[in-house]
Amino acid sequence: MNKQPPINTITDADIRKLVVARLRLLSRNRKISIGSSGEYSVDELIDRVQNNDSIGKKIVEIQLQYLQSLKEGVLLGE
C-alpha cells in the first residue's frame, strides 16, 4: 500500500502571519474605526493581530472574508 503524503494544514498562527503581512501594506497615515472599540493605527492593528485579542480576531475575520469573497467572485458584480 502506498504511503499517503502528509497533508499540509494551515494553522491559526499562519493565518495571523498572512494577515499581518497584508496589514503591512496599509498606508501608515490611516486609521481604522471599528465600532465602539475606537480607532487603530496600522501598527496597533498588527499588535492586536499578533496578540490575538478581540480586535485582532475581528481584523483576521475581515481579511479572511475578503479572501473568501474573491474566491467566490462575489465582488465581481451583481
Partner: protein, 206 residues
C-alpha cells in the same frame, strides 16, 4: 425624519458631520427634520420626539451592539429588551455596529416597517489629521458615502429594500474601482474593509 447625531468621540464625530448632508437633502425634499445632535441624542429626548412627531423615518448614528443602539456618551436609545416598540411604524436606518442582528429583528417583529442596518461591525478608515474636518476626509468618504445612500434613496422614494440595494451597489462600485489597475496600492488595501460593510449591511422587513 428624525436623526440622532452624537459626537462624543472620533467615530461618532465623523458620522455627525457626514449626516449633515442627509439633513440638507431631507430639507430639500421637503421633509421636516428633527435633529437630535450632540447631547440631545439622549434617551429622554429621543423617546419624547418619537412620541410627539411620529416620524416616518428614523436615522440612528452611534455605537451599538447586537441588541442596542446608543446616543451621546453611549447612552442606550433603543434596546431589544427595553423599548424596541418605539420604532413601530417607522423605517429605520441604523448606522451602528451589529444592531440588525437582534434589535432589528425584534423591532420588525414589534411593527417597525423596515430596519436597515449592519449585522456585524460597521468599519471605516480615516486619514490622519482629518479628525477635525471629517467632510474633507476622502478616505472616509469611500465608506460613509455609500451608507449615506440608504437615506438619500429613501428620500427619493425608493422602498427600504431598494434603498439598501442601491446603497450596496454604490459600495460594490467603489470596491470594483479600488480593485482596478488604476487604483493606488494604498487605496486597493481598503477593499477588505469595504467588502466587510458590503457583506453585512442588511434590510429587515416582515
Amino acid at each position: 425624519m428624525l436623526i440622532t447625531r452624537p459626537n462624543h468621540d472620533i467615530t461618532t464625530n465623523y458620522l455627525f458631520y457626514w449626516s449633515t448632508l442627509l439633513i440638507e437633502q431631507a430639507k430639500k425634499s421637503g421633509k421636516v427634520v428633527t435633529d437630535l445632535n450632540q447631547k440631545r441624542a439622549n434617551a429622554k429626548e429621543f423617546a419624547s420626539v418619537v412620541k410627539k412627531t411620529r416620524p416616518a423615518m428614523i436615522v440612528l448614528n452611534g455605537h451599538g451592539d447586537h441588541s442596542t443602539v446608543t446616543g451621546y456618551d453611549n447612552e442606550p436609545l433603543v434596546t431589544k429588551n427595553d423599548n424596541p416598540e418605539i420604532l413601530a411604524g417607522t423605517v429605520v436606518f441604523a448606522r451602528a455596529c451589529q444592531s440588525a442582528l437582534e434589535l432589528g429583528e425584534e423591532a420588525v417583529k414589534r411593527g417597525c416597517k423596515a430596519y436597515i442596518g449592519y449585522n456585524d461591525d460597521f468599519v471605516f478608515v480615516t486619514e490622519d489629521g482629518k479628525e477635525t474636518h471629517p467632510l474633507q476626509d476622502s478616505t472616509a468618504k469611500l465608506f460613509i458615502e455609500p451608507s449615506n445612500h440608504v437615506v438619500i434613496s429613501l428620500l427619493k422614494g425608493h422602498s427600504p429594500s431598494e434603498a439598501n440595494s442601491r446603497s450596496r451597489a454604490m459600495c460594490l462600485k467603489t470596491i470594483q474601482k479600488l480593485m482596478s489597475s488604476s487604483a493606488s496600492q494604498d487605496d486597493s488595501e481598503l477593499v477588505p474593509n469595504l467588502a466587510w460593510n458590503y457583506a453585512h449591511q442588511v434590510c429587515l422587513e416582515k
